[in-house]
């Protein structure tokens, strides 16, 4: 923070009024971590209730509030903002820009988030309780049959949506306009590419989500019947609209994670990413396909068989570009010179577990078989393999990888490795048995279950407590690093790291690339 002309403001105003991409990135990251802990607490309550058959700790209605808030907080509060935080920190530094293109909007898109989540969390204390209709909020359970707090939920969704849309417009504007001279599109780091495509997905589907919740609002308060057959509407219409948002949403979550992994694996393989161009094309095809597969979440609603077939074939196709990505990462490692620092461990964890999640995705895509899988714990296992071991693991890898650059201090490597192994083992103890109970017939979103599911549920709960506890270690390691970690001053913290962010001083000064860098033509897409 050497430059005294442009240093940060003092005190709280630094954070309230900041337009600096690094400050905003930091706030996003801390906010999302706080939400991760909150959503994690809800998950612990769920797993504690499911520890044994019978109702022990909470009532069924409250249990549903927990599953609902857990999903909403994790998806909209933890995962999405964390990647926006990463984008804020890294995109300008990776493309050689001084800041984001729209810094004031950047401040706004962060600062409306905390009030939005405060509103969502406050529903817990309202008459009738918090939303209890699942993170997918199917009508009419979420309209005619919902607690009054649903109106606050709708408003909260609007706020989060607005924040995401502003964040994405900013990213698009930055990537399109602020690249350093010579940084052509096909030289951009893959993280920038995946975020650019993600931002387009967000701009396309968040308004659809806003439309869905607005229609709910109208049905609840203004006498319309969009989702009620009695008035000429259709409850299934809600699902079509929701999943037209919802399926691209799952790729909004995973594409930036793909980007992170594509930065880190080459660094610790000391070898360029294999198939850069095919990675870009695969990302774009996944994004395109994600718009035409939504009804694979609705195989059992009674679609005509032609629709069923169309969505089945389209969904199966997604496996092709997804496979290309996995093959490329592994080929990147092939004949490299690998080392296994914490970020690399989390990336390898990602690779193994995400691939398993992709396989179960392929199984789920087969419509007739999905009749047996749908709405069971098998689906729960699938999406936790892709979202936790996919998105959250890659995010964790990213924090370990770039933290030294951000803070100028090195984290404790041993503690990082311990964190990885506890997470990896805890995660698998939690979620692997969920495949079994799902296949054996346990529905999801139930607070109590038949006796034959007891053993695996207890195992799952034990795993969840282990995974949950390991996050405390993570928090401790990060705090200890920032406060008292060993100082690092090398620009290139990791010997294999490539890219413009590793050409600025460590720790990264408050302002970087006020003068655009000269690109070294030998180092295409670092």
């Amino acid at each position: 923070m050497g430059d005294h002309h442009h240093g940060p403001a003092k005190g709280i105003t630094r954070w309230l009024f900041t337009t600096n991409h690094k400050d905003i990135g930091t706030m996003y990251l801390w906010f999302s971590f706080a939400m991760f802990i909150l959503g994690g607490t809800f998950a612990m309550i769920i797993r504690a209730e499911l520890f044994q058959p019978g109702m022990q700790l909470v009532e069924p209605g409250f249990f549903n509030q927990m599953t609902t808030l857990h999903g909403l907080v994790m998806v909209f509060g933890a995962i999405m903002p964390s990647f926006v935080g990463l984008a804020n920190w890294l995109i300008p530094m990776m493309i050689g820009a001084p800041d984001m293109a729209l810094p004031r909007m950047n401040n706004w898109s962060f600062w409306i988030l905390p009030p939005g989540f405060l509103m969502l969390a406050s529903t817990l204390f309202m008459e009738g309780g918090a939303p209890a209709f699942g993170w997918t909020f199917y009508a009419p359970l979420s309209t005619t049959y919902a607690a009054p707090s649903v109106t606050f939920f709708i408003f909260a969704i609007h706020v989060l949506g607005a924040s995401s849309i502003m964040g994405s417009i900013n990213i698009i504007a930055t990537v399109m306009n602020m690249r350093a001279p010579g940084m052509t599109y096909m030289k951009m780091p893959l993280f920038v590419w995946t975020w650019l495509i993600t931002a387009f997905l967000l701009v396309a589907v968040m308004p659809v989500l806003a439309g869905a919740v607005t229609m709910m609002l109208m049905d609840i308060h203004f006498g319309t019947s969009f989702f009620s057959a009695a008035g000429g509407g259709d409850p299934v219409l809600f699902q079509h609209i929701f999943w037209f948002f919802g399926h691209p949403e799952v790729y909004i979550i995973i594409l930036p994670a793909f980007g992170v992994v594509s930065q880190i694996i080459p660094a610790f393989s000391r070898k360029p990413l294999f198939g850069y161009a095919s990675m870009v094309y695969a990302t774009a095809s996944i994004a395109f396909l994600s718009f035409i597969v939504w009804a694979h979440h609705m195989y059992t609603v009674g679609m005509p068989v032609a629709g069923e077939l169309f969505f089945m074939y389209a969904t199966m196709l997604i496996a092709v570009p997804t496979g290309v990505k996995v093959f490329n990462w592994i080929t990147t490692m092939w004949r490299g010179a690998l080392s296994f620092e914490t970020p690399m461990l989390f990336c390898i964890g990602f690779l193994v577990l995400f691939t398993i999640g992709g396989f179960t995705g392929l199984m789920l895509s087969i419509a007739p078989v999905d009749f047996q899988y749908h709405d069971t714990y098998f689906v729960v296992a699938h999406f936790h393999y892709v979202m936790v071991a996919g998105a959250v693991f890659s995010m964790t890898a990213a924090v370990y990888y770039w933290l030294p650059k951000w803070s100028g201090r090195m984290y404790n490597e041993t503690m990082g490795k311990v964190h990885f192994w506890i997470s990896f083992i805890g995660f698998n103890i939690t979620f692997f048995p969920q495949h079994f109970v799902g296949l054996a017939g346990m529905p999801r979103r139930i607070p109590d279950y038949a006796l034959q599911f007891a053993d695996f549920n207890m195992m799952s709960s034990i795993g969840a407590f282990i995974y949950g506890a390991s996050q405390i270690l993570f928090l401790y390691n990060v705090l200890a690093t920032i406060i008292a970690g060993k100082k690092v001053t090398d620009e290139k913290v990791w010997d294999g790291a490539e890219g413009l962010e590793w050409t600025v001083p460590t720790p990264a000064p408050y302002h970087t690339f006020e003068v655009p860098p000269k690109l070294d033509p030998a180092h295409a897409h670092g």
Binding site: G54, M55, P60, G61, N64, Y138, P140, L141, Y145, A229, P235, V236, R270, K271, P272, F274, G275, Y276, T300, V301, G302, V305, M312, A319, G323, V324, F327, I330, M333, R335, G336, L338, S339, L351, V352, T355, F359, M363, I366, P368, V369, F371, Q372, D375, F436, L439, A440, G441, P443, R444, R445, I446, P447, D448, L451, A454, D455, M458, M459, I462
Partner: protein, 374 residues
């Protein structure tokens, strides 16, 4: 099994991993008893095995790299980073594998959708939180009844030993004849539910205002259990499905007795009962039908409190009105068509005399009949 024992089992399972835990736990999909179920199971196994084989290949290469291409072995990293040939290969080969999966998947799907030529039609309606089964009859002599969770609250709240079919048992199961193509027409009365029985591989969403069709043909007599699989509110976990598949003769006999019951019920509405009889019957109706929302002590919950309620202490007609017609736009359903007149009389009498509501009012089945007629 005691808690301690289960904890130690689970810990053992965690430690030694699958082997121990798998012992007596189901870990895979069941092929069930129907031909569709078997086909679905085969497809599931086929795709899983393909995935496992690909997985072994991919992870094999990765672990080879992890072991042999490590920096600590002093290897010099190669710098290759492109190959169009390889990229094309691993795009085309998976595509061909997918086609191989799509072919059998399509044919199974078409079979699931073949609802023609059913010999028996049953209308299944999901309610918060029970199922109604109605056997459609050409002459309009439909037989219908509700199927409620039979597991007692004491088992759910751990004051009683849990039975073998905990949460998967109902007061009246769906009865179907074996070797008969049965068509299910599935719908719902309030929110979306989903009717699922894994052993016969039928899952179909029950959507209010729309009717979905699906079918089964069960070759073996037996009891098949399942659950609602679409989140439908607080007690979603407590609305099981139980299907009894019986021989044709048994089915006809059962159907005959159901028809006789219906006639007997009409006759019973004409007979007056004593306060005691009504209270005993009312208590059991209350516990199975109303307790979930109104509480074991009438203290309320999803529904309003019955203890001290102005309706339960006030005008009998208004109380009957709520019971028979429900309260529109709330979770309080119209029970007029769900309960027999005797049960309705009993539960209203019970609500007016239990939980400290000592009104002393006695409502007879004939009062219910008169009230319905206006």
């Amino acid at each position: 099994m005691s808690v301690v024992k289960r904890i130690s089992n689970a810990l053992a399972a965690v430690a030694v991993l699958p082997a121990v835990a798998l012992g007596d736990n189901q870990v895979n999909m069941s092929p069930g008893v129907t031909s569709i179920g078997a086909e679905i199971y085969d497809l599931h196994m086929l795709i899983m095995i393909i995935c496992v084989v690909i997985g072994i290949g991919v992870f094999g290469v990765m672990f080879y790299s992890i072991i042999y291409h490590r920096k600590s072995r002093g290897v010099v990293p190669s710098q290759f980073h492109e190959s169009t040939k390889v990229e094309v290969a691993w795009t085309v080969v998976p595509f061909l594998i997918l086609i191989g999966m799509a072919v059998p998947a399509t044919s199974t799907l078409l079979e699931v959708y073949d609802n023609d030529d059913a010999e028996l039609d049953i209308l299944i309606t999901g309610y918060q939180w029970k199922w109604k089964y109605e056997y459609l009859d050409e002459n309009g002599e439909n037989v219908s009844f509700f199927s409620n969770l039979a597991t007692p609250q004491e088992e759910i709240y751990n004051t009683d030993q849990k039975g073998e079919h905990y949460l998967l048992e109902v007061d009246e199961p769906l009865v179907i004849p074996v070797n008969t193509k049965v068509r299910f027409l599935v719908t719902a009365n309030d929110v979306i539910h989903s009717w699922w029985v894994p052993e016969i591989a039928v899952k179909r969403d029950a959507i209010p205002g729309f009717i979905n069709e699906t079918w089964t043909k069960v070759p073996e007599e037996g009891i098949y259990r399942g659950q609602c699989t679409e989140l439908c509110g607080a007690y979603h976990g407590f609305m099981p499905v139980v299907v009894h598949a019986v021989s044709r003769e048994e089915f006809d006999a059962w159907m005959g007795s159901k028809r006789a019951d219906k006639a007997a019920q009409v006759a019973a509405s004409a007979v007056d009962l004593s306060l005691d009889e009504l209270m005993t019957r009312g208590e059991s109706v209350y516990n199975s039908q109303c307790l979930a929302c109104h509480g074991a002590q009438g203290e309320g919950g999803v529904g309003k409190a019955i203890a001290g309620s102005a309706i339960a202490l006030g005008d009998v007609g208004a109380h009957l009105d709520v019971g028979i017609k429900g309260v529109a736009g709330t979770a309080m359903q119209a029970y007029g068509s769900q309960l027999s007149d005797v049960d309705m009389a009993a539960v209203i009498t019970y609500q007016r005399n239990a939980f400290g509501n000592n009104t002393g009012d006695v409502i007879q089945p004939s009062d219910v009949v008169n009230h319905k007629q206006g």
